[in-house]
């Protein structure tokens, strides 16, 4: 019996993109269902009643929620192809640590670079650059966070890249100027077809962020 895999997602979500990359890396066929986050569907509410958020993976009728949990689930179920997490327990712990760091630090800080103004925005910019520098320190001279191969940490982080244009435009700063090594890593990730295809156009994201800013009345 063939697996039935459905992904409830939102095109611009950096969390959803993680799952799309994971599914592509594993060559899994799935049905993509775009969700309207301002008018949530009964299916979404039924499949993620606790958080009512995307992404949600529905595998043979059973829902898995939270992007990093979904990616680990995909890695464990479809374990014979393209491993995302390392085999060694210590390396796995390090990968989970940095994915957790990204989850704790990237979203709130990056959001403030476009959703706030004045002093709050300036502080957010500084903190965001610090976060990227810390990640850059962990990357070091390796081609990927996973070492020679693209892996879990790379996958968790790269989706943010399509939002960088929005952060830089509204926040008036340049990631390349502040963290050139980071951009070198981005370029390597984008050379992977699975990544290039999963990331939406940054100008479309910018239009979306502009609409969001109006909704929350930033100016």
């Amino acid at each position: 019996m063939a697996d039935e895999v459905i992904l409830l997602d939102f095109w611009a979500s950096m969390f959803g993109i993680r799952v799309r990359i994971a599914l592509a890396e594993k060559g899994i066929k799935y049905e993509y269902k775009e969700q309207d986050l301002f008018n949530k569907s009964p299916l979404l509410l039924q499949m993620n009643p606790v958080h009512k958020k995307i992404p949600v993976l529905i595998h043979n009728g059973k829902s898995v929620c939270e992007s990093s949990i979904i990616v680990q689930y995909i890695d464990e179920v479809w374990k014979d192809k393209a491993p995302l997490l390392p085999y060694d327990p210590y390396q796995r712990a390090q990968a989970r640590f940095w994915a957790d760091f990204i989850d704790k630090k990237m979203y709130d800080t990056s959001r403030k670079t476009w959703a706030t103004k004045g002093e709050e925005q300036e502080a957010a910019k500084k903190e965001f650059i610090e976060v990227l520098k810390t990640l850059g320190g962990e990357l070091g001279d390796k081609p990927f966070f996973g070492g020679d191969n693209f892996g879990y940490v790379d996958l968790c982080l790269i989706p943010y890249y399509c939002w960088f244009y929005s952060y830089e435009t509204f926040g008036k700063f340049s990631v390349e100027a502040e963290c050139p090594k980071f951009i070198a890593w981005v370029t390597r990730c984008l050379q992977r077809e699975t990544v290039a295809k999963a990331l939406p156009d940054e100008k479309k994201v910018f239009e979306f962020v502009s609409v969001l800013r109006e909704k929350i009345r930033v100016e």
Binding site: V50, Y73, E76, A93
Partner: protein, 231 residues
Amino acid sequence: MAKSDVKVLGAWPSPFVMRARIALKIKSVEYEYLEENLGSKSELLLKSNPVHKKIPVLIHNDKPVCESLIIVEYVDEAWSSSGPSIIPSDPYDRAVARFWAAYVDEKLFPALKSIGSGDGAEAKKAAIEQLIEGLVLLEDAFVKCSKGKPFFGGSQIGFLDIAFGCYLGWVRVTEKMNEVKLLDEVKTPGLFKWAERFCADAAVKDVMPETDKLAEFAKVLAKLRASGKWN
């Protein structure tokens, strides 16, 4: 393996440190426990966890592992041939356990903390309601995960038991200090009985702090916070 090959940097009141210690006990791993003075963090802590500077830290053959749930999974994997499995073997059950573990950290613990934070009667009432709602959700999760057995993990304590159970000391202290019932026999009968079993478990009872001692600590912490000397 020599005891000094495994170290845990911790603090006795911390529910997160408990998680690491329970996991090591389940796997019968001997370790050296180093109590941190959180008013003045040790060189070893700052060197081992430069990013967050927090406990617990597990140091295994001089290599540090940070973040309590990550430590639990690491212990389970590094000593996989010793003792029972901590994380469920089925990928879907694992995803469910990880989901609820993240839920208790992101939603329950902040609500628990804000009950005692002294932000006023309205805020306290809202925090209590939020916590109880969360516990009702966990009751349902308990029924589904345990499938009639004593623990979330089945016949033995597992990942979600450890993730959630480590908060029980603080739940009891919050109940006592705020004269409120949080874990209710009527609303959450499954969890109520599970809590007793968890606290009595061989892997737990030696590392679960006594409620009275924890309550004393909570009072000191509250004073420090009020005076601005503690973040």
